[in-house]
Structures are given as C-alpha cells and as structure tokens.
C-alpha cells in the first residue's frame, strides 16, 4: 500500500490538519511504510481464517451502561469557560465560519 502526496492531503483535510509541502513527501513515505506493515492483515491465510469472526471493539462493555437520570452538581459556567482561548458572556468566541 503506497500513499501519494494527494492521499496525504486528502486524509489531512479529513483530520483538520495542515500539511506543508515539505511534510507531504516525508509523510507519504512514513505512512506508506506503516500501512505496508499493517497490510500483513491482508495476507490470504489470515483473511481466510477471519471469515465469520466477530469484531472486538471493546473488552468489558457487553451492554449499554446507564446512570440514574438524576440531577447532580455541575461545574459553574465561569469555571467551564476559564480555559477558553477566547470567551465572552459565557460563550466561546471563534473566527468567522464564512469569510466575507
């Protein structure tokens, strides 16, 4: 499995990461090597033995865990907002969603 610079740009966009021109080539190579290693999961013997095998996504959660729907103590708004890079009147402020 080999990734092109275009693939890297596509994945980076999905991950909300900006990749510089210089990083693109190095990442394409590094990611290709890692995926080539991971591709041993695609060997025929293994793929054959995986037929019908269930997936394991988690070790301990076999059923939905719920808690009582009871009001508890919450953090005060000023504490919640304290770490915000930019906040005003209990709201997080961000740059414009659309330019213009």
């Amino acid at each position: 499995m080999s990734l092109s610079r275009k693939d890297v740009l596509h994945v980076a966009a999905l991950a909300r990461l900006h990749v510089t021109d210089a990083e693109q080539e190095a990442l394409a190579q590094e990611l290709s090597r890692i995926l080539a290693y991971a591709a041993q999961l695609n060997t025929l013997d293994l793929v054959a033995s995986l037929a019908g095998v269930e997936v394991t996504s988690h070790m301990s959660v076999s059923s939905m865990v719920t808690r009582p729907d009871a009001p508890g103590e919450s953090l005060p708004p000023e504490v919640v907002m304290a770490n915000a890079p930019d906040a005003e009147e209990q709201q997080f402020r961000v740059p414009a969603v659309l330019e213009g």
Partner: protein
C-alpha cells in the same frame, strides 16, 4: 528511610514519628532538586505539596498505608487547579476544573501529590522522546531512554524521587518503561481502574496503573485506585479483593505458560537469558512450566497500530482551539483556525497517528484495515482464553531489548513500534500484566512480564511477588541514586 524503602516501611516510620509527612515531601523535593536537572522526569512540581503533607500529619492511621506518602502522576491525568498538558503544546496552560478519579482516590487515601510527570505526547511513543517539551533520561544511563510513554513515571521512581507513581498503559506504556528503568509496573485488567479524568488516547485499550519498587507496593497502590466508578461507564462492577493478602510467596502447583511467539529473533540474547533464568527460578519454587501457543501474536502489532490510531484520531478531534488549550493566532476563518491550531499544537508522531487512524477509518478502507484489525483482536483474545485453559500465568520478556540510546529510533517510527511487541497483545485482550525486574545487563535493567487472567490480579501479583522475593533483587538502585545527599 528513603524512597527505596517499601511503602510499608515508610508508613511504619510515619507511625513511629521517625519522620513526618511534610519531611517526606521535603525529602522528595530535595531528591527532585538534586537529580531532575539530569533526569528530566517532572514537567511540573507542585508548589503546595508540603502544605498538603502537613494536613495529613494529624490523621495518619494504622490501616492507611498511603497517608502522608509522596507520589507523582503522569501528566495525562487531570488534577484540579494544576496544569495538565499530556506533554503537548496544544494543552499548554490547561488547568483542569476537576481531578481524575485516581487522583481523588489517592488524595482520599492521604497520599501527597508532588507533581506531574513527563511522557510521550498524548502517550504516543515508547521512549518519552516524543514529549513536546523535552526528553526524559534513564537514571541507569543518562544517554539511554527511560522507555515510554510513562517514561517520567518510571524514571522518577527508579531515581528515588518519589516512592510510587501512576502511569497509563495503552500498548505497554507502563510495563516497558518499568522494564527499562528497573522498577515494577502493573497494567491492571481493562476496567478495573477508572479512566475518568485520564486524557483519552485509545479508549478501548487505555488503563491506569502503578509504578513502584516492589510488587507489594504495586498491590497497595492498586488497592487504593481499583473499583467501580460511576463516572466511567467502562469501569467494571467489581469489588476489589485484598491484593496484599494474595502475596503468600507460595507458587507450588501453579502452572506457568511459555509462548515461543514471545521469544522471537528480536529478543536480545541477554534479555532471553535473564528471562530464562527467571523461569527456572519459578520452577524451583514449585511452579510447573509448560509450552503454550499464542498463534496470532504476529498480527497483534499491525492490529494495534490501526486500532489505537483510529481511536486516537477520534479522541483527539476535540483539540480544536475552542474550549481549552492553545489557539493559533492569525486564522482567517474557523476552518483555518482548526487546522492551524492542530498543526502547530501537535507534534509529528501525534499527527502521524491521527493521519493513520483517519485513513484506516476513511471510506473505502474501513473493511480492509479497521474492521479486519478488530477481527484479529478477537482471535488474539481467543488465543489467550485457550492458553488459560491449561496455565495460570504466562511469562515472557517485557521488551525485546534493554533501554536503547536517545535518538536511536526516533527517525524510524516502525522500529520504535516494534519495541512494544511483547506488551501490545495484552492490551488488545484487556488482560492484566506486570513487569518485574529480572536482572541487569551491561548496567541496564531487564524486565520480566507476567500476564494473568482477566480480573485475576491476585494470582498475577502472587507469582510476581514470589519471584521477586526469591530473586532478591528488589529494590534496584541505579548508581545515580546512590550517594545523593537528601
């Protein structure tokens, strides 16, 4: 009395008033001051730890072993009012408004937090060189890595700066640094210890556990942190048994399994010999040793390096410069702000794993990568279940080598990943495992890994303790930590 004394001895000293809790906190501060400019284990030393210690002085009780005992936390566990960064620039200045359950439980037990420990950024790494701030060095040899990602925790305990620390283990991040630094490192069963307040890396694999000098100390710390927590829906509904009561020293009739898959060519000869010797000792103690097979081990690393990045890519989506952390300046619009914040805030390994994970989950590749990795996970788990039909504990090296040199693997991510080859399958299966020192080669410690049945920490600790007592090595003390005036 120093921090190579057992927790029991420190506790007895406090009860007999040979030292006070604030004197122990002072001693820890002195050790940090005299050693940490070389080791670089701490990211943050708590300013009010001596005052906190003073508060515990009046309440030290017979049964409260951790009362007044100093400790430190890997910096991915939230501490109310104390900066928590995960060794990442993106969380620089983040002051959590709440504490992790483990921090609360240790606080309730009377333990005194000395500070926060260095790690690979977001726990992604095996050498602590991926810290966004600085690498930690191995107290046994400052040119060597302490392992990772809980490298700061292992180094701080190994150098005697604190008697115990908590780390987290997603693919070996407690056990491998414990092995490299000559301390005990325990990864409990998935779900035994609450992850509430642990900054998530790969949620189905992460587990918090202690790093200590002895198995008994690990049992004592586990006792304090184990048990159901309503705030973590994956925490198991289990009443923690008395772990110290399990340390009988008796392993007669116990069945130990040896899997050839864990003794492959990547295992250095010195490591192999030390582990073989340890197995022979367990046999002398009355355990029976038999070969077992874990046939899907060879696929574990591939599966792990798809599952962990996939979960990480999702977990780390929250770092967007909106609610907390550092925001990039001069962004034109919201999307630009996200991208600039994440690209400047994350280090290269974190970005690499986010990209791998995003790719593995992306449309068209999901079945070939992520789904297949999860099926392999089922097979690996089944391998262990089958093996535990005929044995009680599985013994292997913790890592294929001793501590490697700083810079040796940092430019080769895949080779770095291979240093976790003996520990990763255990996380995929959710099992408990412990690393115990089993020798020193060329001035560097070797770790012996023992793997137990799900939620059978008692048997695991019993075997580890019996071995440790018979081997007579603990606590290991690096030259750096000798002759330090404190």
């Amino acid at each position: 009395m120093d921090f190579f004394s057992s927790l029991q001895e420190l506790h007895a000293g406090l009860l007999k008033r040979e030292a006070t809790a604030s004197e122990l906190a002072d001693l820890s501060l002195q050790r940090i001051a005299s050693l940490d400019d070389r080791v670089h284990a701490f990211l943050h030393v708590s300013a009010d730890c001596v005052a906190a210690a003073k508060e515990t002085e009046t309440v030290i009780g017979q049964e409260r072993i951790l009362d007044g005992i100093p400790y430190a936390l890997k910096d991915n566990m939230c501490t109310r009012g104390i900066e928590t960064t995960c060794a990442s620039h993106i969380l620089k200045g983040y002051i959590p408004p709440y504490s992790a359950t483990v921090a609360e439980r240790l606080n309730d037990a009377g333990a005194v937090l000395m500070g926060k420990l260095n790690m690979d950024e977001f726990a992604m790494g095996s050498s602590t060189e991926n810290s966004g701030f600085f690498p930690t060095r191995n107290p046994w040899n400052l040119e060597r890595v302490p392992g990772g990602s809980s490298g700061g925790a292992a180094a701080a305990v190994a150098a005697g700066m604190v008697p115990f620390a908590l780390g987290s283990d997603t693919g070996g991040s407690i056990r491998q640094p414990a092995a490299f630094c000559g301390v005990v490192g325990l990864k409990p069963s998935y779900g035994l210890v609450s992850r509430f307040g642990l900054v998530a890396f790969a949620s189905s694999l992460d587990q918090i556990g202690p790093l200590t000098h002895t198995v008994e100390d690990a049992a004592i710390v586990l006792q304090a942190i184990a048990g159901k927590d309503e705030r973590d829906s994956t925490s198991a509904n289990i009443q923690a048994p008395d772990y110290r009561a399990a340390l009988t020293g008796d392993v007669r009739g116990l069945r130990i399994g040896i899997a050839s898959e864990y003794f492959g060519p990547s295992v250095e000869i010195g490591v192999r010999n030390a582990v073989t010797k340890a197995i022979a000792l367990l046999e002398q103690l009355g355990a029976t040793v038999s070969p077992i097979s874990l046939p899907h081990t060879e696929y574990a690393l591939s599966a792990y390096y798809l599952i962990a990045p996939a979960e990480a890519s999702s977990n780390l989506a929250r770092y967007d410069g909106v609610r907390y952390g550092v925001r990039a300046v001069d962004a034109g619009n919201l999307l630009d702000m996200y991208e600039k914040t994440r690209s400047t805030g994350f280090g290269s390994e974190v970005k690499r794993r986010i990209l791998i994970g995003t790719y593995a989950l992306s449309s068209g590749y999901y079945d070939d990568y992520y789904k297949r990795a999860q099926q392999v996970r089922t097979l690996i788990r089944q391998d262990f279940l089958d093996a535990f039909e005929s044995v009680d504990v599985i013994v292997s090296p913790t890592a294929p080598t001793t501590a490697f040199r700083l810079g040796e693997k940092v430019h080769d991510p895949l080779t770095m990943y291979l240093s976790d080859i003996c520990t990763i399958p255990v996380n995929l299966a959710g099992l408990p495992a412990i690393s115990v020192p089993c020798g020193v080669i060329d001035g560097l410690p070797v770790g012996l890994q023992m793997i137990g049945r799900m939620f059978d920490e008692q048997t695991l600790l019993r075997v580890a303790h019996a071995y440790e007592q018979a081997a007579g090595m603990a606590p290991l003390r690096p030259a750096l930590a000798m002759g330090v005036k404190a």
